[in-house]
């Protein structure tokens, strides 16, 4: 078996293990509530809590093994998750899994554009700043990065909204302007990916694309600012340590121009630590994306929980959302692990060794 495949299989095993541990913790939390409350997870469509009689509750508890020991219940719950039965959410008035899947492209779109902005910017600015620490650009960079990490995103977006939406009316919250949101629900507009920017391109509707991009400016700005600052700082510290190493010195001695030295030689060494930092903060980043979504009214995954938090209790939505977001984070970490193994010669060697 090729070593990389072995590595991937091992990582996959770890990913599944993580998933198991966290779902067990989640279900242990569910077990803290009485069986009658747990029964809500299995209420079918149209059978709200208020309409459930004693007998009906008892039949659900019996049918779904809710009076059995923890591990047995956990097993049945996982089984129903795998079968795609994630419960019915009374506040969303639809099944939880389709609701989550339908909203995922919106969240992905936002995350994708933010990453496209923040990763190149963070790497480049960190690199330039760290190459000549305590000089002109570095000082600007450090004060900006300090601002970026100190300014809480929700306050930043508050200010952005007030300036650019209420006062200047350049950008607006939401996904699309009203007339275009009607447009994309028409039959002529084929939704290929669920991401408006890509769909509008595929449909050849540049006006919709422009409108969608305009709606993305503020959330992307908010999201990238914080994470750009963190990423830039990490890149900067790495490059400062890396700058004086033998291989860079040797390259310098060979007469390799400064610019090439920086972007070719030093740049490689910052990629991996930066990837690691992205992977480590994946969960925090997802939280950030959801918060920004909620503030800018983007109706992505956060809509599932924001709705359910403001009305009747909705356990299936909350539990489904938790499992789903863990899945997203684990998937992202898995991808980054593999990218790291491919990019970093040191990790690659280790992969080959074991």
């Amino acid at each position: 078996m090729p070593p990389l495949l072995q590595f991937i299989i091992r990582r996959l095993f770890y990913a599944v293990l993580s998933l198991m541990i966290i779902t067990m913790v989640l279900y242990a939390g569910v077990m803290l509530s009485p069986p009658e409350a747990r029964a809500q997870l299995y209420f079918p469509r149209g059978k709200g809590a208020e309409r459930a009689t004693e007998g009906y509750l008892r039949s659900i508890i019996r049918d779904h093994h809710l009076d059995r020991p923890y591990l047995v219940q956990y097993g049945y719950w996982v089984k129903s998750l795998i079968e795609g039965d994630w419960g019915y959410s009374p506040t969303l008035r639809e099944d939880v899994l389709p609701a989550l899947l339908r909203r995922t492209p919106v969240t992905l779109e936002l995350a994708l554009y933010s990453l496209l902005v923040l990763v190149p910017l963070g790497l480049a600015s960190g690199l330039i700043a760290g190459w000549k620490p305590r000089e002109g650009f570095d000082n600007t960079f450090r004060s900006m990065a300090f601002f970026g990490t100190t300014m809480p995103p929700f306050i930043f977006s508050f200010v952005l909204l007030s300036l650019f939406y209420v006062n200047l009316d350049w950008f607006a919250p939401g996904r699309l302007s009203f007339e275009y949101s009607l447009e994309i629900s028409k039959e002529a507009f084929r939704a290929h990916t669920g991401m408006v920017t890509i769909d509008s391109l595929l449909n050849g509707r540049l006006d919709i694309l422009w409108d969608a991009l305009k709606h993305l400016v503020m959330p992307v700005l908010t999201l990238s600012m914080y994470h750009w600052a963190t990423l830039g700082r990490i890149t900067r510290t790495t490059i400062i340590a890396e700058r004086d190493k033998e291989h860079i010195l040797a390259a310098k001695a060979r007469g390799i121009p400064e610019r090439k030295l920086m972007w070719r030689y030093a740049f490689r060494s910052v990629l991996v630590p930066s990837l690691t930092s992205v992977a480590l903060s994946a969960a925090a980043m997802l939280t950030g994306v959801l918060v920004v979504e909620a503030i800018f009214d983007l109706k992505g995954l956060s809509a599932v929980i924001v709705g359910s938090m403001n009305s009747a209790p909705d356990a299936p939505a909350a539990l489904g959302f938790s499992v789903y977001s863990v899945l997203l984070v684990i998937g992202l970490m898995f991808l980054l692990d593999i990218a790291q193994a491919i990019l970093d010669p040191r990790v690659r060697e280790e992969v080959l060794k074991t």
Partner: protein, 353 residues
Amino acid sequence: MRRWRRFFAHWENWLGLLLILGFSIGAVAAPVLSPPDEADPGPFKQIGRASDFVPHPPGEEAILGTLPGQYDVFHTLVWGMRDAMLFGLLVALGSFLIGVFFGSVAGYAGGFVNGLMMRVADAFLTFPPIAGVVFLQQLVLNSITALGGLYYFDPIFFGRVLALGAPPTPLVALLAKIDPLMIVLILFSWMPYARLVNSIVLTLKGADYVQAARALGGSSSWVVRRHLIPNSMAPAVVLAARDVGGAVILQATITFIGLGGLSPWGMLLSMGRNFVLGPGGSLLTHWWVYLPVTLAVILFGLSWNLIGDGLNDVLGPASRGGYVSRQFWKRNTKQDEQVRSRDDQLLDSSPAG
């Protein structure tokens, strides 16, 4: 001592300390600075007609003006300090204790047990706090309703309020008292501590004096308590200092977007929101509904970050720290080191998203 002289040589650290001192004074002296309403104590105080939905500018009655519904801004600002301080410190302390304990026990046990325990920590690292908040609140809510409690909607805070069945059973009363957000934040921010402490303990285990302590017949728990934990504190303390600010900012964020949480600052911001973001609103006309509190949140996060950076500096490479910190930092800065481990990254990135 030299370390502390270094610490006080930077104005940033002074600023951080002064800010924290200010917040602490505000937190402790809240009842003096803004006496609570006898009938309705708490972070919100009404000083005028509740039906008056126009915020009044600062004046005689309210130093920093009022919110819609005539809630005093200054009162919430000051009492919010108390809440923020308490919340931040408790979250940081809780995750610090859990993380240090978990990490050192795993590191001391070593081998298979260590691998397994660190896997558990990694699994926790994949859980976004926002999901935890929602999950735990729904859990509490569901349990209370299943046990006979009720909930209704508060028209002012636009939130759900629980009405316990009368008289509430002890379990229901307890459930209603806990702050799900605090528990979630503790439950899902101890992992960085565990990883840090774990890696230090693993390097320390081979150190001569630890070996000697064991050879002298010290029991495992004694070795962990006496040598490993005290010596692996420094980086964890740095992390904790930053966590205090991060936790409070996250709490305010979650309250602001309406996912629960009890941050008075967050509630105040969301109550005054429409006068800034609503039609005809602007940052200038009703500045008092958001500016004092925004500044407080920013400065609170800032001060703890400054202290964290300062401590990091002092306990870092050039300082004459204890054996461990020297070893730990040397390991980090040593050239041709293997891949910068994930744990080192944790110190660079700040905790909250």
